[in-house]
Symmetry: C2
Subunit: 248 residues, 2 copies
């Protein structure tokens, strides 16, 4: 599918040209990173969302802001657009030291590593995490308790090659399930005999975001100004082994 | 070993009575939680540190602080004492919304979940993470690149039963290795075939902390005031299954 065609499909779902371009560029970035579960294949699902729980005309709003804290309300906009607006604001007015951002009602958020990378490209250290509908059960079984709740961490580098980790707590992705590449019952916390660790992180993100942003899926972003440049030396120590976020 | 005897050993290592009590109470808490690798068995190792890279008379100092940001220098104090002082400050003057704390030269930090729990007991949502000397290699092999770099997340609960996750990225703990319960070569990122996920988180913490706090092991703390109380409903949904941080 071409970029223009993809934008057209989201336009037909009600998005403005500008908003559709933001979402499609995010999806294309996911495809380029090999994360097809977050790529253009998501378009029919996004169009469905625009006709149901999301509002194509919803505009995220920054309802509170100080130097160290912001709170946003998603206003039923697609989560991609909420995180895009948050990143725009952080890049335009970066924190002197650090700023923590809470986004209420922010879903779906796409590939979190891309938002973290955008902040790193602007010279900021970033943590981005978000919740999604419950899909992961407790390692001992039972109903789904948490989303796949990825944690993305990005660190800029003076040599222009930032580090970007983006780790979902699921053994497979929900995107893989949507694409038929994994069975729903494979969507459990990763780690096999140590799955309680990934579950603990997924539950931690779930409850942290819920405590700050309320019951709807939400997101939090920490952006901070680095004082040191550790990535190049780390890369050297890794001696050519592939690091998270590097091209495959 | 009794509490008094343990305090005596750290006193003999040069710590003041008050500092020794803070450290011993932390170690006793780890033992009570079944995390013996962080418990009283660490005392000989701590006494060694007090005679080498740490300074028994070192006093952590808060060198920068605003409503949303603090920076501390560990001044070669034991990391337990640095995190204890940081928590004291956050509890005494909690953030209106959120505060991010960077601790330079903060090692060893003990069981991070205990510091996060302390903040949750004071009504704050908390994330605590820290680096330690390199012990985990890349999943493809090579030299150790990252510490075990635990991430602790705590969320208070109106019913007095907070949620506390505390997840190291290692398949075993360094404490287990010190105690002879695991071999050094077992200290790799957890996750088996998905170990790249735990490695990505370990590397993310390593580089985030290094970018903010410099090359020595350090710690960061995020404390925020919750707006919602999601833990009791989550516990109910888990239907009696053990949650992270609950008594075993």
């Amino acid at each position: 599918m071409t970029r223009a065609r993809a934008i057209g499909e989201l336009r037909a779902g009600g998005l403005s040209e500008g908003d559709a371009a933001i979402v499609v560029d995010h999806l294309l970035g996911a495809d380029a990173a090999g994360r097809h579960g977050h790529g253009l294949t998501r378009i029919p699902w996004l169009v469905d969302l625009l006709g149901s729980q999301c509002d194509p005309e919803g505009r995220p709003e920054r309802v509170e802001h100080t130097e160290g804290f912001e709170r946003w309300e998603g206003r039923r906009a697609l989560g991609h657009l909420v995180l895009s607006a948050i990143c725009d604001g952080l890049v335009a007015e970066p924190p002197q030291r650090a700023r923590f951002v809470v986004a209420e009602s922010c879903f779906p958020t796409g590939m979190l590593g891309a938002w973290a990378r955008r902040l790193a490209d602007a010279g900021l250290v970033a943590i981005v995490t978000a919740t999604s509908p419950p899909r992961l059960p407790h390692p001992e079984g039972g109903p789904p308790l948490t989303g796949t709740n990825p944690i993305a961490i990005a660190v800029p580098a003076a040599d222009g090659r930032p580090f970007v980790a983006d780790v979902s707590m699921g053994a497979v992705t929900h995107g893989d399930v949507l694409l038929g590449r994994a069975r729903p019952e494979d969507l459990v916390p990763f780690g096999g005999p140590l799955a309680h660790k990934a579950f603990a992180l997924a539950a931690g993100v779930q409850l942290l975001v819920a405590a700050l942003a309320g019951p709807e899926p939400g997101a939090v972003v920490l952006a901070a100004r680095p004082a040191h440049d550790p990535v190049p030396a780390f890369r050297e120590l890794a001696a050519g082994r592939r690091l998270p976020g590097d091209a495959g």
